[in-house]
């Protein structure tokens, strides 16, 4: 059980590393939203599932409720994070922010 938890957490940290590097290194605003939207959601999903599994070691009603709440956070983040990213994209489009092309580099 611990091996599964450690593997899930390490994969989630790899996802988070990719998200942070992508936010730092991509050239313009719209391409920076791509790692921010996908990799942060995926990394949070993997790490939170691992922590919910680890929390079920001493099985009782209270730890089951706590793991259920962690899964609830996962569901909420899956709904809310892409919505927030889409709101930022919408703000950029309506403000007239142009995409990055090869010419204006």
């Amino acid at each position: 059980m611990d091996i599964v938890v450690v593997f899930l957490i390490i994969f989630g940290l790899i996802f988070f590393t990719g998200g942070a590097v992508g936010i730092l290194r991509f050239p313009d605003f719209y391409s920076r939203l791509h790692p921010a939207g996908k990799l942060d959601t995926g990394g949070g999903f993997l790490i939170m599932v691992a922590l919910a599994l680890f929390n079920l070691h001493h099985f009782s009603l209270s730890t089951l409720l706590t793991s259920f709440k962690i899964i609830l956070i996962v569901v909420f983040v899956f709904l809310s994070s892409p919505t927030a990213i889409h709101g930022i994209v919408d703000a950029g489009v309506r403000a007239g922010l142009g995409p990055w092309t090869k010419k204006n580099d």
Binding site: V6, L13, G19, I23, F29, I70, A95, L97
Partner: protein, 91 residues
């Protein structure tokens, strides 16, 4: 296992410091918003890790849920506010 969680939390804090660069030096206002959103989504995970280190997950999971909601509402409200303004990208 506690030591592993401690080092995971430290590494997550390091990644948050990397995202803070985009939140401080971003060329436009919306880039700063991306950095703030990335830091917030990492903080919800970090709060549950802190709860596992202190053996009080039942208390910290409620704080993490409230923080995830607060982050979502803050980013959405800020993006709705900034889309009305002209000259956003020229600073």
């Amino acid at each position: 296992m506690d030591t592993f969680f401690l080092y995971c939390g430290l590494y997550l804090s390091f990644l948050m410091a990397l995202s803070l660069y985009r939140a401080v030096f971003g060329p436009t206002v919306l880039d700063r918003l991306i950095g703030v959103n990335a830091i917030g989504s990492k903080t919800a995970v970090l709060l549950i890790l802190i709860g596992l280190i202190y053996h009080r997950v039942d208390m910290f999971v409620d704080i993490a849920l409230a923080y995830a909601m607060l982050n979502f509402i803050a980013v959405l409200a800020a993006s709705r506010y900034f889309q009305k303004r002209k000259g956003l990208f020229g600073e």
